[in-house]
């Protein structure tokens, strides 16, 4: 299943399969995560959460909890100095005040000597609610004007028409990050009146900003440290336990730890936006795209969080990796009471790429042109303009990734002695070979790299060299993706020293970019490179000075100072003669602008990456059972820093996308989530996983150290449409919504009435007027 990559503990530098510095500890169970942190004398926190999707809080009586054994502190909204937080828009209450707006919204918190006592106390708090009607349908939200952001994007001539048109409406579900480590963390009193907060973070400085603001503390009194993180995928951005723990710790004077259950982790946090997207492609008869019309509706929760960024991404990436001269695109991010929504791997792009790729195949069928060929004809090239009016001014290997994936050899046909584990449906499945059909699908994708739309993206890093070992201080959050290894490998290549370690991210360092938007390697990487380069200059100048040598004739290689011919002159440690060398450097990504300023010459997105996925499935159509056999993925990665890690990102992201295509749906009825633990929210197991073959297309990114580029989100963007394309090829069904459950693939029409009895929101037929009203008139 692997491409044959193995890690090498002795490898050093960019482009090598260096073994991660933490894999030894992880395989022995010695690596510490937020869930593992424990202080002596610590208290345990518990949270009381709203049982209603929308209600007025009439009264909160904390007294029953306060008098329970082992309880040291009970708090509600009135105890929060500044009761709002949020990354882009600060409209999220730390503790609900007069209203609750989603099931799971925090209302009160308790600190007690033991987690069971804390839970019992939280459950004893009496809250009187007046239940109110909830908005659960995003189209109703649109109608009611509950809109966070409306984006309108016109490009070229919006009235032009193509000889051939194809349209479709596509729906995606609410997906949970489902990282393995539940939400957890600890807050400790720190210094005089300050607080230290340790847990899983993606951006420690932003967490600090929000925590300090909520507590009305100066930021210098708040220290945020990133713990070991058990997976993030975009899901560790919002404040859940952080301010709660800080409040209780400051009040009690003791450390307070929170450890959420899986259900609480699912309810308390945000999820990927459910979406409804209509689009229409116009093309010439020989397959040239002429115009794109699209209407994009992203469901967000009752608080803005990052709503604006998601819909901005959607409207600009709905065009896919294609050059389209004219466009009429509108998008809305709307507020419902179904729970918070926000960033998840492929933020705001997974949904439109699914719609785009599905409809491109629709267009291909209408034209009678093959799907791969149609994509090649229209693939965006360097120098083309995006519909946002941004010029594609960076390497654009769209053809190489498409060709590489499309031309990959197909897997062998299944043998008669196929292992039961590979049967669609698993080991006890009735899917005998005679009922199984194999089919192939293809999808291409593009994603923005780095945060966009005028977000300031930069990192600062410090490298110090002492006694032959270098230490990197960089506040970039390691969340499992392997940044710690990338950082070391970059510093090894630049500095020429192999003994390098990196410190855990904390706010007592200069800020770094958030681990988000595929941006960490290409933002903190250059900062580390520059700092390492500066340290090398310092070292060689010092040595040259000491030994009357011209520093420009010296270099550092594999822990030795060497001359031009490579002859070793001294070890780095000897050469430094006890001196410590240190440099701090900052790297800024280029400036970007919002979507709403098309005449501004700055780009909307820093850069883009491209990929393609050729997916093979075996299906038992009668029962709708699926086994994804193989995915061949080619991805434009700039420059591979670590091939094992890069392969792992492509496989992991693609599998997550496969989960979204086949089985991941956090369902709700009337604002109440139905499947809130892992017995019923399903992610792919080792039985479900296909074979992965990955290919890296390396066209170095200009202006970035070593030409590196981001890569972590794009795999999740290309895989749902690739799986669906294969399922459509197998079944001939339109399959316009995901996940595709067995009964959808088997073509069974469920009776809406029965679904209503089961408490499920059934498809109600044509959507209400508000959605129809936003459609362009027929061209």
């Amino acid at each position: 299943m692997m491409n044959g990559f193995v890690t090498d503990p002795n490898a050093a530098g960019v482009g090598t399969p260096r073994r991660r510095p933490d894999s030894w500890a992880k395989v022995r169970g010695e690596f510490e995560y937020a869930t593992d942190i424990a202080d002596s004398g610590m208290l345990w926190g518990a949270t009381l959460r709203s049982p209603h999707p929308h209600a007025r809080i009439l009264s909160v009586n904390l007294e029953p909890a306060e008098r329970m054994p082992g309880v040291t502190s009970v708090m509600a909204a009135q105890h929060v100095p500044h009761n709002l937080c949020g990354m882009i828009v600060a409209d999220t209450p730390v503790l609900a005040d007069d209203m609750v707006r989603y099931v799971g919204e925090p209302v009160a918190i308790v600190a007690a000597e033991d987690p069971v006592l804390a839970r019992r106390a939280a459950d004893a708090i009496e809250v009187d609610y007046e239940v109110l009607p909830a908005i659960i349908d995003p189209v109703v939200a649109l109608e009611a004007g509950a809109v966070y952001r409306h984006v309108k994007l016109i490009h070229g001539d919006p009235d032009v028409c193509g000889e051939v048109q194809a349209e479709g409406e596509y729906v995606t579900s609410r997906q949970d990050h489902a990282f393995l480590a539940p939400d957890a963390g600890i807050a400790r009193p720190w210094g005089r009146g300050g607080i230290e907060v340790i847990g899983a973070a993606q951006w420690v400085h932003e967490d600090r900003r929000q925590i300090a603001a909520a507590l009305r503390l100066p930021e210098e009194k708040v220290l945020v440290r990133n713990s070991g993180v058990g997976g993030a995928f975009g899901g560790r951005v919002s404040m859940t336990w952080q301010v709660h723990a800080a409040l209780l710790a400051l009040h009690t004077g003791r450390p307070v730890k929170f450890l959420y259950s899986r259900t609480e982790t699912m309810l308390a946090r945000y999820h990927r936006h459910p979406s409804r997207i209509w689009l229409r492609h116009h093309a010439t008869r020989d397959g040239r795209l002429v115009k794109l019309e699209a209407r994009i509706l992203l469901e967000d929760g009752p608080y803005a969080h990052a709503a604006g960024a998601g819909i901005g991404n959607s409207c600009t990436l709905i065009q896919g990796p294609y050059s389209i001269p004219n466009a009429d695109v509108e998008g809305w991010s709307v507020a419902t009471n179904n729970g918070m929504c926000g960033s998840m791997r492929g933020f705001g792009v997974v949904e439109p790429m699914f719609a785009c790729e599905s409809n491109i195949d629709n267009l291909a069928r209408t034209l009678g042109i093959g799907g791969v060929e149609l994509r090649r004809i229209n693939a965006i090239q360097r120098g083309d303009r995006w519909i946002s009016n941004q010029i594609q001014d960076r390497p654009t290997p769209t053809h190489p990734v498409m060709d590489s994936a499309a031309q990959a050899p197909l897997p062998d046909e299944p043998s008669a002695s196929r292992h039961p584990v590979d049967r669609p449906g698993g080991v006890a499945s009735p899917a005998r070979d005679e009922y199984v059909r194999r089919a192939v699908g293809f999808a291409a994708a593009a994603k923005n790299v780095c945060l966009s739309e005028a977000a300031e993206v930069n990192s600062t890093a410090t490298v110090s060299l002492s006694d032959g070992e270098a230490v990197i201080d960089c506040a970039a959050a390691e969340v499992g993706q392997g940044f710690v290894n990338v950082a070391i490998q970059v510093a090894q290549s630049t500095l020429g020293v192999t003994r390098i370690r990196i410190c855990e991210a904390a706010t007592d360092m200069a800020p770094a970019a958030t681990t988000d938007g595929q941006q960490q390697t290409m933002t903190s990487g250059p900062a580390i490179d520059r700092a390492a380069a500066a340290v090398k200059v310092q070292l060689l100048r010092f040595y040259g000075n000491q030994h009357r040598l011209d520093p420009s004739g010296l270099d550092v290689e594999l822990d030795f100072v060497v001359d031009r011919s490579g002859k070793r002159l001294a070890t780095v440690s000897e050469a430094a003669a006890g001196r410590v060398f240190r440099a701090t450097e900052r790297f800024d990504q280029r400036r970007t602008r919002t979507v709403d300023e098309p005449d501004n010459p700055d780009p909307v997105h820093v850069t883009m990456d491209f990929s393609a996925n050729r997916c093979v499935v075996d299906v038992d159509l009668e029962l709708g059972l699926v086994k994804v056999v193989q995915m061949d993925v080619a991805q434009d990665v700039g420059r591979v820093v670590n091939p094992v890690a890069a392969h792992g990102q492509i496989c992991g992201g693609s599998l997550m996308g496969m989960g979204m295509a086949l089985m991941e749906n956090l369902q709700s009825a009337n604002g109440h989530m139905l499947n809130t633990d892992w017995s019923t929210y399903l992610i792919p197991t080792s039985v479900d996983v296909p074979t992965f073959r990955t290919r890296f297309v390396e066209e170095p990114e200009p202006g970035i150290s070593y030409g590196v580029k981001g890569m972590g989100e794009l795999p999740h963007v290309q895989s749902p449409p690739a799986v669906l394309a294969a399922l459509r090829a197998a079944s001939g069904l339109p399959l316009s919504s995901i996940p595709v459950t067995a009964e959808i693939l088997a073509g069974i029409e469920a009776d809406a009435g029965i679904e209503a009895d089961a408490g499920i929101e059934a498809d109600e037929g044509p959507p209400p007027a508000a959605w129809a009203n936003v459609m362009p008139r027929r061209g």
Binding site: A428, L623, Q667, L682, T685, S686, D751, A758, I760
Partner: protein, 285 residues
């Protein structure tokens, strides 16, 4: 609220303890009960069956298998003779949960547990299994089907299921299940087919299509009459009709996993295939 953990080491004590603590939950393997505790269900006392040697063991005597209620699913799989003979049971055991779960989940817990995964019940129904129950009134042996019909496999306070027994018919068996992913999930629908060649009789049980698992007597009769016993073959028409009639025995409900229509459709397809390929090289262990 106080609670207690009871760990009797013999059946009589266990029954007495249950009577004294009617709110205590029976814990067999723990895969259902402890999961519910972890979900936040308050504990109201727990009585562990682990110490009861009377509930362990797999025995074969006079053509009948007898499984102690505390037999784990892993024990079922590991027994060198049981799974090959009772191949539907073996296949069901293989498909249940994961290795970790199978090392703890028990036959008795799977029958009485009340959790979603009651994988074994349709298989045991198809084997015409009987259950032994011990309680304050004494002990009794009862057809599993009776127990399901009268109480849905919930026992009266103080009663403990101690063993399951069945004979294994001589003939091919099939167990099929499907679910929302290819492993580690509750079965959406299952179909068990057990054929007794010497008596030319067929037993069919369906899971996931009613409150409890059900037999499909009309389908059984159709199959018994329609199979070509002499030549060990099944006509496509017979298999097709069998599927349709088996589906009629299903009274499924819709839930967020699957609709009633799909469950009924799945029964038809799975039953048809099970019969059609009955005498062919199986998909089996």
């Amino acid at each position: 609220m106080t609670g207690i953990l009871l760990t009797p080491d013999n059946l009589t004590d266990a029954v007495g303890a249950l009577l004294r603590h009617p709110h205590a939950q029976l814990v067999a393997g723990g895969t259902d009960v402890v999961a519910d505790l972890n979900r936040g269900r308050p504990a109201t006392g727990l009585l562990s069956l682990r110490g009861l040697a009377e509930l362990t063991g797999i025995h074969y005597k006079d053509g009948r298998w007898c499984l102690g209620a505390m037999t784990t699913i892993a024990d079922v799989r590991a027994n060198a003779d049981l799974a090959p003979q009772a191949s539907a049971l073996g296949q069901a055991a293989r498909s249940l949960g994961s290795r970790q779960i199978r090392n703890r989940a028990t036959v008795g817990g799977n029958i009485c547990g009340g959790g979603s995964d009651r994988t074994l019940i349709p298989v045991l129904l198809a084997y015409d299994a009987t259950v032994d129950v011990v309680g304050p009134e004494g002990s009794r042996t009862q057809a599993l089907s009776d127990l399901l019909a009268s109480s849905g496999a919930s026992l009266a306070v103080g009663e403990i299921l101690t063993a399951v027994s069945f004979s294994v018919a001589s003939g091919p068996h099939r167990y099929y299940r499907i679910g929302p992913r290819n492993a580690l999930c509750y079965a959406t629908v299952s179909v068990t087919l057990v054929v007794d060649e010497p008596t030319r009789s067929v037993r069919v049980a369906l899971g996931g299509v009613a409150e409890t698992a059900v037999r499909a007597p009309a389908a059984e009769a159709l199959a018994g009459a329609g199979i070509d016993w002499q030549r060990r073959r099944v006509d496509a028409d017979v298999a097709g009709a069998f599927g349709v009639v088996a589906a009629e025995a299903a009274q499924p409900v819709s839930d967020f996993v699957a609709s009633a229509q799909y469950r009924r459709h799945a029964v038809e397809v799975m039953a048809r295939r099970a019969l059609k390929h009955l005498f062919e090289e199986g998909i089996g262990e």
